[in-house]
């Protein structure tokens, strides 16, 4: 009897898996990205512009001998650009088998969310940027917007980035 309860509890918890999200701020909103895709978080460092690069690319940085492309997240999200300050960070992520950096206003924390705590984002978007919102979650009366990093760029854009 006890064993069957345990099995049921394990099954239920498997259905409602806990996921970890790294949260960052962008224009006063809090966004979350899957912690498994985050490699590291860097303080802002000089980003070298790349001539002829797509508009969503800010430039490249040298990360311990590796060249990493940094994406202009604000532009990607349709937000106005902002001045770099002390809390600006470059989050190094892996998506679509590529390592890139995304520039954010600040990085906040790592949060634990059950799958059941994630709601669908209002499905009224038609713009390109609507695609990479994979859900929203309410935490302590604050809305966390969860980003699907794989959809941050289109297939063509990922390919374009690979050849940069």
């Amino acid at each position: 009897m006890k064993d069957s309860r345990n099995v049921a509890a394990v099954a239920a918890s498997k259905d409602d898996a806990v996921l970890q999200w790294v949260t960052f701020k962008l224009d006063n909103e809090t966004y979350g990205i899957n912690v498994m895709q985050v490699q590291e978080v860097l303080r802002y460092t000089e980003i070298a512009p790349v001539p002829g690069a797509p508009h969503y690319v800010l430039g490249i940085i040298n990360l311990r001998g590796n060249v990493v492309t940094v994406i202009d997240t604000r532009s990607r999200f349709g937000l106005q650009s902002a001045e770099v300050d002390d809390s600006t960070r470059i989050v190094i992520i892996e998506a679509e088998k590529q390592v890139i950096g995304i520039l954010v206003d600040s990085v906040a924390e790592v949060v634990y969310l059950r799958r059941s705590e994630i709601d669908n984002a209002p499905n009224v978007g038609t713009e390109e940027s609507a695609k990479f919102i994979q859900g929203v979650s309410n935490r302590d009366n604050e809305l966390l917007i969860l980003v699907d990093l794989d959809k941050l760029l289109s297939d063509e854009e990922w390919a374009e980035l690979n050849q940069l």
Binding site: G78, P122, N123, V124, G125, E127, S129, L143, I145
Partner: protein, 324 residues
Amino acid sequence: MSKSVDETVFDFFELLLHEEDSALVASQVKPQEGVSTSLALKTKTEAQLLNDAILADHEQSKTQVKNTATPEVQLAKSKPTIMATAESAPPLVNKQALEKLLAPVLKTANVTEEKPAEVVSTPVKPVTPMVSKPEETVESSVVEPEQIESNSITPETQVGFAPPSVTKDLQEVLDDEFQVLFFKVAGLTLAVPLVSLGGIVKVERINHIIGRPSWFLGVQTHREEQLNLVDTCAWVMPEKYTDKLAQSVNYQYLVLLEGSNWGLACESLLNAVKINKSQVNWRSKAGKRPWLAGVVKEQMCGILHVQALVEMLDAGLGCQDSIG
């Protein structure tokens, strides 16, 4: 004497309600193409004039607001209790714009009369100001057509528009006497039946979600649920929602739509009153604007068909989009 902005808005809503009918008449009478074109031209001019009038009224009301207290709202858990506030004195209006506006309205009424149509016979009260005005406005309607026809304005019609199918008759759901809540946004008064009201919430922290339509204001957390906020002004009258108007709109409350998590942002709540079904000019046919159930005659404002509105919002449609 010119009509007040509320009366003008009433005429505007009346026209929205009958627009499909007049368009139908125009398409049926093909040889008289000129008539339908001029009608469309007048509608366009009217829209512009209404825009002027609303802007003038909004400017006026903004200055009045500075001197008056904001309406208080008591939010009960299940049923919203609204403290009625006395309406301020009738606002001053852009007279010239209104006089121009009234002419095409009367002219349109004449054109639609040709159709045997269901003209809703409204029980006219002896004291209503609308009864005493026709003579004055007829004069301007005689002068006006030439000016309008000479203007080369492209008609703002929606060609190939499929009539929506969601206009389930609201009247069936309502009792003969029912309560409505009046609320205001950018000088425009709207009514929502209380049976379709999900609640009233104060606008607090709005989370903006990227990639959404311009009328999607954002998301607000309320009792651990997300409310989707509609920029009512941008949704109801997108063609009049200029940057200037957008900057001047100061949303204070959310009128929640029953059975959904949609909330219409509004600037002020006027009052909740009991009205009779006969006091509303109900939409008689499905048309372009299923969200508009009719026009409340006395208060001269549009009454919302919440179910249809929710369906449109769920589908991500703007007020002028086809849902057919």
